[in-house]
């Protein structure tokens, strides 16, 4: 008998628990198999709506994250200099008393002296609320350097977005365009979806400077030059308009394309939508049923039904002024020769014939292959329809669009491209995920004034609708430490974490007392200008000798680079050791066919003296006696921690963090009294809750009564009024008018030109890779953009220009580390312990660089020595690397000679957090001027050979004041 010990029926473990993964932002359902009290195996939960049983490399490697030697084990108090990693272990009581002392003093003095920022946080529904109760306006998570361009452009345009608030119709789409999507959000649903598309034979087009991952299995790779996607989308719009391959009926039904825009140059309402006395938007409509030969029109309620709106022409308003339909302004812009394929080809790096063909393919699939789904539904106006018309063209966009200073307008261009194809929330197109759509933009404004109890009047983050909503002082200058919601970045809906340390250090706009960070690696890969940022964290005021940022509190489960810069370290648990919730009030995990939320439950007990961050935050809040965190007698309201808060806290009557099993008997969804047995019900159901959208409500959600009534019953929307897609973003025009001198709230003079330019209510392209003034156009591929689409933030800067820095440099994270916390995982690091600079072979040949050579990557900020690898799947004008694999020696419990420390590198050292003038003074953030999104991918570089290309060794050599 061979193999005497082979046992085919050995149980996996002795117990299995469900919970939710935390290895990235995907938040899949997992089953944790336990054996003798230890984690034996983690696999995907087949019943979970996010991942349906599959699990990615990170998810399986979660076991090694849980048992990582880099886990922190005790609160730490700094005893040496900042950055020296010299700490003394202290007890929790001492740690929390110290934190409470610092924060209590601040709250009594000026709550805004606390800057509370979280990184890859997944509990913003708690942290944002906590900041509001504390009373600081200086709160945000990491969206400012992640994807706020996607979120803001979507929310201001559709009331939903790419990313986590929408998805392609994986079951019905026949043509998927992936714009700037590499290995990213949201991980497993995209992979499952791509698998479906492949099996069905749908065409996938990857528009990306780099062909890896998803791009590798696409039918077509369009190797676009970084930052020019808006121009390509504009050229596709140009083609579709010229060919008259657009869905005008969709536009007038679901968008504001037919709304009349006041044409009154110089007036306070120029460019605004014409409204009647009741505030109803107006349009021009044909009179009677005279058909196309009718020349008569009337000014009508644009929301009216049974009318025939006009989308072209100049119309007389009741007050004698004229107005034109928004569509006409749009068509005039995009039909102009600026956006013709031949005009954009060189800048985009894509030949005109390909652009024309892509436009033809889009039109062909949208219109000739239209879907007619035999599903009865009732529209928001009460009309019944026998079928749902689908335009099976879907788009998804992500980091590659977002991380440019033109990302907001680029993303809006993509949404308008989808709108003219009639491809928003139809069968086969992009689809909303509940609780989206919401009104565009959603009604919640950022909090900015403190109530008598010290709490802010609203959460610190929100959507700015008018200049009055900005968080600025009487002079119009920024009030937030990161300058979010200021005239510099009015729609900074996620804050601007990437600028907090530099601003706090410079005292611009003011100094803070305490920087409180959770899971934000600002001492390394989450920081722009990393070397300088590390120095800033250690910088002292020459007069007092004190640190410029007096206190740094840091919470993390692992010994990351940022730990070194903390005065007080509060050790968090791993994700398998705590309660957590994935709330619909936060970043939902819904899919287009249903609403979902989920919990984490502790499946193992910590073997270290660590506490869940959420529990610590509630404890601190009670010690500070924050409103909502203590009862009338001053006793803690949630002594049993976050698990209690998740169940008992109500954001509005009947609405809490979890939507499932509400009401005393657990019979209510969405709205209902707190249910003491709620968590037990979640655990019984695999730690998630899912409610399917009714069949009649699955599409046209923005104007589908069946959907809107369902959504209202769950408190996702306040009314069943249709949500009008903002083809023309009137909200932006309000800021432009302020810049032109209208209204009580106006930008400071030095911001006027910038606001006027960027707050264009129709999207437009401008050069993102700033072609700096004074440079000739010789040689670089960006010359087209420097003339037709200038980047107005560019000022003369010595030696910085297209000719000197002809290449774009970008990063992405590999799928096996995407959005994961640390690459010290012993299994994942065997897949890659270091990164290389990937270069197109042709580009390498032009520079005399061979595969494996060490070269210098040079940017205005300085230069880094990196090892080059040839990669044919890289556009010739681009170089790239895997991000966040390079580590700093001393962190993550890696050996000093680990390749992560020795050969791995970050591009971040070369990416400034500010745009500077010729003298090196920071002028404004290196960010999207509308949203404050960090412009990581605007980096321009050149390659220089090293005298000894075969000698190993990464080096950083920076110039300028911080070098």
């Amino acid at each position: 008998m061979p193999h005497a010990h082979l046992n085919l029926h050995e149980p996996t473990g002795d117990a299995v628990e469900t919970t939710t993964c935390y290895m990235c932002a995907c938040r899949c359902g997992i089953r944790v198999h336990l054996k003798n009290g230890r984690v034996r195996y983690i696999d995907g939960n087949p019943r979970h709506p996010v991942n349906r049983g599959v699990i990615c490399a990170k998810g399986s490697a979660g076991i090694m994250q849980h048992y990582s030697p880099a886990r922190l084990s005790k609160p730490l108090l700094r005893v040496g200099a900042r950055g020296a990693r010299e700490f003394r272990e202290i007890e929790w009581d001492e740690a929390l008393a110290l934190a409470a002392k610092w924060l209590g003093d601040i709250r009594a003095r000026n709550p805004d002296e606390l800057a509370f920022f979280t990184g890859r946080d997944q509990s913003q529904a708690l942290t944002g609320w906590w900041a509001q109760q504390f009373g600081t306006i200086n709160y945000a998570a990491h969206g400012g350097f992640c994807s706020v361009n996607m979120a803001a452009a979507g929310m201001y345009t559709l009331g939903g977005s790419f990313w986590e608030f929408g998805e392609p119709d994986w079951d019905l789409t026949r043509y998927l365009m992936l714009w700037g999507v590499a290995e990213d959000h949201d991980s497993n649903p995209i992979k499952l979806g791509l698998g479906k598309l492949k099996a069905r034979g749908a065409k996938i087009v990857a528009i990306n400077p780099v062909r890896t991952g998803y791009g590798a299995i696409a039918d077509e790779w369009v190797p676009i030059n970084p930052g020019t996607d808006g121009l390509l989308a504009g050229a596709l719009i140009h083609e579709l308009l010229h060919a008259d391959r657009i869905d005008l009926d969709y536009l007038v039904r679901y968008t504001n394309a037919h709304h009349l825009v006041i044409s009154a140059p110089g007036a306070a309402d120029d460019g605004m939508i014409a409204r009647d006395a009741q505030g109803r938007a107006l349009c021009a409509a044909r009179v009677g049923d005279e058909g196309p030969r009718s020349t008569g029109y009337r000014i009508a309620d644009a929301a009216g039904i049974g009318i025939s709106p006009l989308v072209i022409g100049e119309y007389l308003l009741a007050d004698g002024r004229t107005a034109v339909p928004a569509f006409q302004l749009f068509a005039e812009r995009y039909m102009a020769v600026d956006y013709a394929p031949d005009a954009v080809a060189t800048t985009c790096g894509i030949d005109a014939a390909t652009i024309r063909r892509l436009a033809r393919e889009l039109a062909e699939v949208a219109f000739e292959q239209a879907i007619r789904l035999p599903q009865r539904w009732t529209d928001a106006w009460g009309r019944e329809h026998e079928e749902m018309i689908g335009r099976p063209v879907a788009m998804h966009a992500m980091r590659g669009i977002s991380a440019h200073a033109n990302g907001f307008h680029t993303c809006r261009t993509l949404h308008l491209l989808q709108m003219i194809l009639g491809a928003i929330d139809t069968p086969g197109s992009f689809r909303y995920q509940p609780p989206y759509p919401k009104p565009a933009p959603p009604p919640n404004r950022p909090g900015k004034t403190r109530k008598d109890d010290g709490a802010l009047d609203a959460g610190p983050l929100g959507y700015v609708h008018t200049p009055d909503d900005l968080v600025v002082d009487a002079r119009g200058e920024p009030r937030r430490i990161d300058k979010a919601f200021s005239w510099q970045h009015p729609f900074a809906a996620h804050g601007m974490l990437q600028n907090v340390i530099a601003n706090a250090c410079a005292g611009d706009p003011y100094r803070i007392d305490t920087l409180f960070l959770f899971m934000a690696n600002m001492g390394w890969n989450s920081a722009m200008n990393t070397s300088a940022t590390r120095a800033m964290l250690c910088e002292r005021d020459p007069a007092s000798g004190e640190y410029r940022i007096p206190h740094v509190i840091y919470v993390d489960a692992y010994d990351s680079e940022t730990v070194a810069f903390a005065d007080l370290v509060l050790p968090d648990t791993t994700y398998l050791e705590r309660h957590d919730c994935i709330s619909l009030l936060d970043r939902p995990i819904s899919d287009a066919d249903g609403a979902s939320d989920a919990i984490r439950q502790p499946v193992v007990q910590p073997d270290r003296d660590v506490r869940p961050f959420q529990d610590v935050l509630l404890d601190l809040g009670a010690r500070l006696r924050l409103p909502g965190l203590v009862d009338d007698a001053g006793a803690p309201k949630y002594p049993r921690g976050y698990a209690q808060y998740m169940v008992e806290h109500e954001r509005a009557p009947g609405v809490g963090l979890l939507a499932g099993w509400r009401g005393a008997d657990g019979a209510q969804d969405g709205v209902g009294a707190p249910n003491p047995g709620q968590l037990a019900r979640y655990v019984e159901h695999g730690c998630h809750w899912h409610r399917a959208v009714p069949d009649a409500g699955r599409y046209y959600k923005m104007a589908n009564r069946d959907y809107l009534e369902w959504a209202k019953s769950l408190a996702f929307v306040g009314s069943t009024q249709p949500i009008v897609l903002q083809f023309y973003a009137e909200t932006l025009q309000r800021f432009r008018l302020a810049a032109r001198g209208h209204g009580a709230m106006q930008p400071p003079d030095h911001e006027r030109a910038r606001v006027e330019r960027y707050f264009d209510p129709l999207p437009f392209h401008y050069a993102s890779l700033a072609p700096l003034a004074g440079e000739g156009a010789e040689g670089g591929w960006g010359e087209g953009s420097s003339q037709a689409f200038p980047h107005p933030d560019s000022l003369p800067q010595a030696g910085a220009g297209v000719a000197h820095y002809p290449l774009a440099a970008i990063t992405q994270r590999p799928m096996f580390m995407y959005h994961a916390w640390g690459s010290q995982n012993r299994w994942l690091r065997q897949i890659a312990t270091r990164n290389y600079l990937y270069v197109n072979p042709r580009t390498a040949a032009e520079h005399g660089v061979a595969d494996g050579d060490w070269i210098w990557l040079v940017a205005p900020r300085g230069r880094i020595r990196v090892q080059a690898r040839m990669h044919a799947g890289t556009a010739p004008g681009t170089v790239w690397t895997w991000n966040a694999i390079g580590k700093h020696k001393g962190a993550w419990k890696l050996a000093a000679d680990a390749p992560e420390n020795v050969d791995g590198f970050l591009l971040n050292h070369l990416i400034d957090e500010s745009l500077r003038d010729r003298d090196g003074r920071a002028r404004c953030a290196n960010a999207d001027p509308v949203t404050g999104q960090a412009a990581w991918f605007d980096l321009r570089v050149r390659i220089e050979r090293d005298a000894e290309p075969r000698r190993d060794g990464h080096r950083i050599e920076l110039s300028g004041p911080d070098g």
Binding site: H9, A57, S60, K198, R211, Y214, E239, M335
Partner: protein, 278 residues
């Protein structure tokens, strides 16, 4: 030397779709995790947090950039169509500053459970053996002396040796899952197949022509790796489907270029007379 059992009807194996694999390593890590804690484990890691971490993996994913057949990179680095024969004077595609891309292929590699595996026949102790009942090739660690002859014999690099254990290890096709009555029936599949997020991996009986995997192989022209060695691998790979890029694309047939002759159409005024309805 170890003898092979008589050929059996049942040939369990994997079918891996290279058209759909995105190279995410989910299969490799799920495999490592299942087997590390299971009865074929541990899968040791050496120097796990040091300079040269390496460990035992039963499944590894490799990525290749390949050029599209028929396209060559010219001296200028610009891709052009390969001349159909040596006498053709010029490329049919004129010089263009726009590169014509190749393919990136992700290739997961594990034991192919060959029908006539040399790794078994070279084994001096009978540790490496092929199961008669389903064709799975296994290593009985109790009998393995760590001579590594099997690794030399396997042309596919499917075997892994760790100094720490001193024995050979390899893919078991999750033999301790696929029959395991303590698991739900739906879970009785290899860990890599369960994990694969694009569902590019399929498990089944390739000896049964009516099985779903056999049908898939027939439909997609699945192929065996290096058949010339005559080890008769059971696993099959499905090739990348033809990419529908620029030309000869069914997608664009219906819309001829003429229908989009933009010069023939007026500007925005064309929509002035359009009767729309709300």
């Amino acid at each position: 030397m170890t003898t092979l059992p008589p050929p059996g009807a049942k040939k369990l194996g994997l079918v891996i779709d290279l058209d759909t694999c995105v190279g995410c390593h989910a299969c490799a890590v799920a495999c490592k995790e299942w087997n590390d804690g299971g009865q074929f484990g541990a899968l040791p890691d050496e120097d796990p947090y040091g300079a040269q971490p390496h460990g035992v993996w039963f499944n590894r994913v490799h990525s290749y950039a390949v050029e599209v057949p028929g396209l060559v990179i010219g001296e200028s680095g610009i891709a052009r169509a390969r001349a159909p024969d040596a006498t053709s004077p010029a490329s049919p595609i004129p010089d263009s500053p726009f590169p014509i891309p190749g393919l990136t292929v992700h290739f997961p590699r594990s034991c192919l459970h060959c029908e006539t595996p040399a790794c078994v026949t070279v084994c001096p102790t009978g540790a490496s053996y092929k199961r008669a009942e389903d064709g799975i090739v296994l290593v009985d660690a109790d009998k393995c002396i760590g001579c590594q002859l099997c690794a030399w014999a396997c042309p596919y690099g499917a075997r892994e040796f760790s100094m720490e254990r001193g024995t050979m290890q390899k893919c078991t096709l999750c033999v301790d899952r696929i029959y395991n009555e303590t698991l739900d029936e739906a879970d009785r599949q290899p860990a890599c197949v369960m994990a694969c997020p694009t569902r590019a991996r399929h498990f089944g009986d390739l000896g049964d022509p009516q099985s779903p995997v056999s049908k898939l192989v027939a439909e997609r022209e699945g192929y065996a790796l290096m058949p010339e060695y005559d080890y008769k691998p059971v696993n099959r790979y499905l090739p990348p489907r033809p990419r529908r890029g620029g030309c000869a694309d069914a997608m664009t047939k219906a819309s001829s270029p003429e229908s989009l002759d933009t010069a023939q159409l007026p500007g925005v005024l064309r929509w002035l007379d359009r009767v729309l309805s709300r």
